[in-house]
């Protein structure tokens, strides 16, 4: 999967988890928590959805790497998202 495809998937997943958020203004290098009203349950659902769609195992210690859009794309690309 290309980085663009990963980015699209991440954004679509975010949109499902925070449907009221305007993702067009999302800053790619600032944490989701600082920009969206999301809690730990939302983030867990986010990781579960990425895990299911991209077939990537995401250990809990790596959650901080998924805090931003850029971080997600880097991490998931390196982890072999497919």
């Amino acid at each position: 999967m290309t980085r663009d495809e990963i980015r699209t998937t991440v954004l679509r997943t975010l949109g499902e988890i925070a449907p009221e958020a305007d993702l067009s203004t999302l800053k790619a290098d600032v944490s989701f928590r600082d920009q969206l009203d999301v809690d730990s349950m939302d983030l867990l659902n986010f990781v579960i959805a990425l895990h299911a769609m991209l077939h990537v195992d995401i250990p809990e210690v790596d959650y901080p790497k998924l805090a931003t859009l850029d971080g997600c794309v880097d991490y998931l690309a390196a982890a072999g998202a497919r």
Partner: protein, 381 residues
Amino acid sequence: MPILTADMSAGTLVEWRKKPGDALKRGDIVALVETDKGLIDIEVFTPGVLEKIVVQPGATVPTGTVLAIIRDEAPTGAPPVPAAPPPPAPSPVGPAPAPVAPGPAGRLRISPLARKLAAELGVDPATVRGTGVGGAIRREDIEQAAAARAAAPVEKPRADRSARLRQAIGAAMARSKREIPHYYLATTIDMHPAMTWLTEENLKCSVPDRLLYGVLFIKAVALALKEVPELNSVWRGSEPVRSEAIHVGVAISLRGGGLVAPALHDTAGQSLRDLMRQFRDLVQRARSGGLRSSELSDPTITVTSLGEQGVETVFGVIFPPQVAIAGFGKLVERPWALAGQVVARPVVTATLSADHRVSDGHRGGLFLAAVDRLLQAPALL
């Protein structure tokens, strides 16, 4: 129309999920009702047969209104209802009245007496379904329409959901602060053992099975209630009644503001993993609609966890008719003195707001001490 939350005064019937003649068993969902807290699935508590639907979809009725008649187990022999149930009669008065089939001349078939009565009672005969010969409107039909209209609350302009939810929360919390003499306690709990255990547990399982630490709080509260059971009570009229079952309500903030606190049923008797699964499901349904009536009306205590918003301490306001609410703040790393040494430890502030008519600070203190002790041995939760 069941009272699903302390502050609920009316609800709108959205849809029937069962039809007359259907056999019902406990827990079946019979109808979908819209309330300030969103769309709620209404469950049946006693088995029987749905005999008659009284309130039609679209109607807003006060709590206590009969929605449908359920007959006890069907007698053997004669079929309980006609094989082909009659088509549902349109609501006599309601948002979308079914137009009456006009007579040949396009005029309403209505008796002079009924017409006079309609004028007196302010009922528009065109919105009334006639039950007389050829659909003629009789006096009884007008009376029925007037009675049904009287039963419906005065229709307020429909404010949007979040405004109505805000109103409902305000009503419940004002009642709580007016009626309940709260007392407040707080304690700081070392979360090092719990977090260490949780990290190890989560390493062992794949993403969907992982636990959030919030579920440890919920389970610890449920188990601590066994030691201080008077905190697990609900007011019934003027008496606090101790609840055998422990159904911890979890405060869930909704997108766009407001919150609901539905129950995780039998909290003390479930494994952490089962609780976690249900907690996730509950949050999802709270936010998208689809809570069940028992989840809204059953909680025997509430847990609120505002940690995500970054506050260290939260003192909850008790949800009537409950008598206590436990609060957990943000997990923070703080200096912690241990055996003469200062170490850095993740800690959380746990609080209790409780009803002084039911318990005292001494018992409340024992409850928080029990929560602390339980969290020191997370593997046993």
